[in-house]
């Protein structure tokens, strides 16, 4: 029973961190209508930033979180318009071209990181690394709890921004119906660039947390892209609220399969779930997909 509770708690904590970047991923899809393969690349880049902040500057890993947001937010702000232009270009199939572009970007990031840093894994160390926290009968690494708290703060901030600010209203309006939003005076092109920047920044912040919990190497980007896709399919593409539920579910599924079956089967279990959802309820379990 203790093992069960511990696994459940672990899964929920990891799911919370996954939720931060999958929510942003859904937001980017809702506005840009592009499935961004590069999502795992941003996670890994965030993790590496965390590593270099600790290894070179000798600072605590958590310092890298705001830094990651500013740096990769700026990079995303520059890439956003390119993606937007391809998606809305007059080539034969802009949707597929944009998909291919994000796939190329992902391949470029992965290849670049492998060339620069090799296959070695790196850890983001913080003052909390190695400590653990006992809650009743279960013990969890303190770092996971703190990471989940950070994740909740980031997600909470994002929701506050989306639902309580005027610009958030414009983003939601664009995600719902871009033509009507444009008629209401929203500059869709500029908003898309901003949203992509916001998404890249948040994803990199989640990457710092992921790097602190596990470790980071260029090849794990594939895994995080798969996570984002899993959540997107389960929640329905573009559904921001569903992403939170689906990410927590993903964390729990992964934790239980890893604990009770074996870590090498976790991706297999995730894919089987993803496939069953596509088969039974293609618009996501909450039926809110686009």
């Amino acid at each position: 029973m203790d093992l069960f509770l511990q696994t459940l708690l672990n899964g929920l904590l990891i799911g919370g961190v996954i939720a931060t970047f999958t929510i942003a991923f859904q937001l980017a899809f809702g506005v840009l209508h592009v499935i961004d393969f590069a999502v795992g690349g941003w996670v890994v880049l965030g993790g590496y930033l965390g590593y270099y902040v600790t290894a070179w500057l000798g600072l605590d890993g958590f310092i890298a979180i705001p830094l990651a947001f500013v740096l990769f937010g700026a990079v995303g702000y520059l890439i956003g318009p390119v993606l937007y232009n391809v998606r809305n270009s007059r080539t034969a199939r802009p949707e597929l071209m944009a998909l291919a572009l994000s796939f190329g970007l992902f391949t470029l990031l992965r290849g670049g990181m492998l060339t620069a840093w090799g296959f070695n894994t790196r850890n983001v160390t913080t003052t909390l690394s190695g400590e653990s926290l006992a809650i009743g009968p279960v013990t969890v690494p303190l770092i996971r709890v703190v990471a989940a708290v950070f994740a909740a703060a980031i997600a909470g901030g994002l929701f506050l921004f989306l639902y309580r600010s005027r610009y958030g209203l414009a983003i939601r309006a664009t995600a719902e119906n871009r033509h009507n939003a444009a008629l209401m005076g929203v500059n869709i092109g500029r908003l898309s660039a901003n949203v992509y920047g916001l998404y890249a920044g948040i994803t990199a912040m989640a990457g710092v947390l992921m790097g602190a919990i596990y470790s980071v190497n260029p090849e794990v980007g594939l895994r995080y892209t798969l996570f984002a896709f899993f959540v997107a399919v389960l929640a329905g593409l573009g559904s921001v609220e569903g992403a939170l539920v689906a990410a927590l579910l993903l964390g729990v599924i992964e934790a239980f399969v890893s604990t009770y079956v074996g870590a090498s089967y976790s991706l297999l279990a995730i894919f089987t779930t993803l496939f069953l959802v596509l088969l039974i309820s293609p618009r996501g379990i909450l039926r809110r997909g686009l």
Binding site: I35, A100, F229, S264, F271, P282
Partner: protein, 330 residues
Amino acid sequence: MALIPTNPQWRGLVLLAIIIVVLGVLPWTVNNYWLRIATGALMWAGLACSWNMLGGYAGYINFGQSAFFGLGAYVTAFLMGDPFGLPFSATIPAGMVVTALCAVIIGAPTLRLRGAYFAIATWAFAEVLIQFASAMDFTGGIGGIGLPPYLNERFFYFAMFGTAALSYFLTWALFERSRFGLKVKALRDHEPAAEAMGINTALVKLQTFVLSAVTASVFGAIFAYWVTFINPKSVFGGDITDQMVVMVLLGGLGTLWGPAIGGVALFVVNRLIWMYWGDTAFYIAILGTAIVLVVLFLPNGIAGLFARRKNDALDKVLDKLVGSGEGGHP
């Protein structure tokens, strides 16, 4: 002058005949090293063609084509291995059947949805096959699986040549010269309209997907026998799909000869990089850069470059004849 026909169709046929003759006598004119490179180039031209069937003609992007290449390779390796010991020729149909079944299972639910879901499902399928093959015992785990060596370079050259030629012939016959091809192109250009015309789009897409997957599996089978040793990364790896996507985009999406041009061009670049640096990680970065650049600056590929130039010239002549000074055409 009379030897060179002026009719473009005849010119094409003469060019094709020259290519076939050159490829046919190649094994007796070059050494084994270059023969292996030529074999690889033919394989990649054929794989690019298989990807183009669905990606180019039906407009559905498959980011997990390596799954089917790998399935063909693994079925052959498994059936030629210890408990079975089947001959090579018997393993190919088995690989084709397994691949077709997998393609139906993946494609039937996801091809009904938006292209993005299909791209996700195929990509995830390939990634999961890597995990599956690494975790299972009967696939040899991460270490991989060996095949009985057969040291006859000419056999593999002609096997790849024949399969590639058949792939291009099938593409030409099915997609360029039949009602089936019209259906596929119609659904690519406007799916709701194609459905309204009475085309069973779900079925047509599934048929195209299965054809594309089975073609890749045959190349996988020959590849496994050729290199005599495979492991999960070497046949299921995402780089294999990346390479096919770049080749088709570079050559020209949805054209007959585009994948051959892009396939051979990129494979030669690959070998040159390998010869001078031997570093695979750097090559992944180059592939990514190539995809980005082609999407941004050459969306119609190399084949589109020629087509556009021809049309531009034609348009100029027409403009002069009609005398419209604006020159702006949609």
